[in-house]
Symmetry: C2
Subunit: 315 residues, 2 copies
Amino acid sequence: VKITSFKTNSKIARRELGRALTAVENDLDNSDVVINETFNSATKSKIFGITGAPGVGKSTLIDQLIKTFLDGGLTVAVLAIDPSSPFTGGALLGDRTRMYSSGLHNNLFIRSSSSRGHLGGISSKTPEMIKVIEAFDFDIIIVETVGVGQAELDIMKCAHFTSVVLSPNMGDSLQALKAGLIEIADLFVLNKADIAGINQLEKDILFALSLGQSTLKKPKILKTSSTNQTGVLELKKVLLEEYEVLNASGEMDRRIKDSLNFQLELGLRENLKRIFNKFDSLSKKRSSIEEEMYKYKLSPRAAANKLFKDLEKNL
Amino acid sequence: VKITSFKTNSKIARRELGRALTAVENDLDNSDVVINETFNSATKSKIFGITGAPGVGKSTLIDQLIKTFLDGGLTVAVLAIDPSSPFTGGALLGDRTRMYSSGLHNNLFIRSSSSRGHLGGISSKTPEMIKVIEAFDFDIIIVETVGVGQAELDIMKCAHFTSVVLSPNMGDSLQALKAGLIEIADLFVLNKADIAGINQLEKDILFALSLGQSTLKKPKILKTSSTNQTGVLELKKVLLEEYEVLNASGEMDRRIKDSLNFQLELGLRENLKRIFNKFDSLSKKRSSIEEEMYKYKLSPRAAANKLFKDLEKNL
């Protein structure tokens, strides 16, 4: 894989980036090389996470947002994380390349990726895929996820700035807010501002925000309407301005550190799995301890402690 | 903590069970003892997981279901997992003891527990808490969780039988189904059968089911109305009958094994954390490797591999 600036030669970059992402997504032989090469390259993409339940009009809004970025001469990459079923593999988001009206624009790169049943709305490969995209030199990276509640919490570990899209027709928005969205949002986008209930939705959010800890920075609230195409220019302006505020305050550096630590944790878990397969004595011990557990002679917690004691001895 | 049958002496059992659950939930000093003692005790509680988005009328339905179980002379425990925010700790479900109209019934035990921001709608303590409840000898244990999409997938690792409650007014039910609910449900309960859209909802689900793998056992579909109090006796009947079918086929044993393996995995992860704190040389090494990662000299994956290499050497 040849790392090329998308700004300098979008044609070659598009092809090479596609290959690099496929390697990382499917854990191909060259994925380690790709990750190491792209990880070291210093770039300055602004990474915007955009999340929300199905039906809030997220994709139409993102479509319009992409256009305003492209109109401003910026290069844009979109990574759409599709919460496909872990069992049937059915896709939810559909083909974004065809769905976005700017799909074939020269300055736009679009990629869909399955979350593969990984809890949290993103896949274990998502952070590394974002890093690969960054290395190909884009001004803007948009990460789109879908879900309601706790599932979105992971996106804040991948993006620099997280927007949550809500709409009045989704019912119990206040309860969804209580379940954790309040804390991950840097910005609330109230979409479908043209339909009834938008003012109640805003009141609900303001109320929910008033219950939160006063020391936290309150997220902004912005009303948009994809139908009337209003608020999208304002959305672009707010995103870029707020990004700079967080960057200047050092908050962005703290978030990037958090994201790295989260990825480190995932890597350690993978190693743990590997080590039980590597040593024959360990994998036999594991089988026999599991048998005791199945017979209710050992609780899972006691079984884990026992396995780790043997791990410490054996290595 | 004294393990007592709730059927024999509900007053003492209620008090002791409350204490035991508090010990496990908060990881108190005696939690290991409680877990070991309750784990070995063979009991035969039927564990029913009931899940659904906020607003589908889940709690009213569960309230009526509890009553029909109690009317049949059964002892019932309810564990309501509250997806409180990991940051503010705000509760979503409210006080179930007061919300259920049978809250003070002699044969009913109710406990709320916070998911504490743990992804997946349950807390890392949930499986052990269920095991503790089982040891106190209940006929029925109901585990209630809330959420939409991937977040529910964990409940199938705790319950013997999982019901997903849907209602026509929740919008995009088909999309929610595609996102994974199809595979975890043993039973779809279509609540609010009295309002418009119930037939479309049923059609949507049948269509979604038709897309799934034909080898899997299709979940049943049942219509209920909490308002008209219809379908609840039928719900009770189906739950008990289907439980027996799964039990007789050996499927229940397979599920219990899966659940134990899931808990073992959680225990191994906790040990992994512990071990990095235990050895001074390891924790120093970790700090220095993290610093390299922050400077983009090492990718998180490479950092994790390096840390594990040192772990293997040091032990």
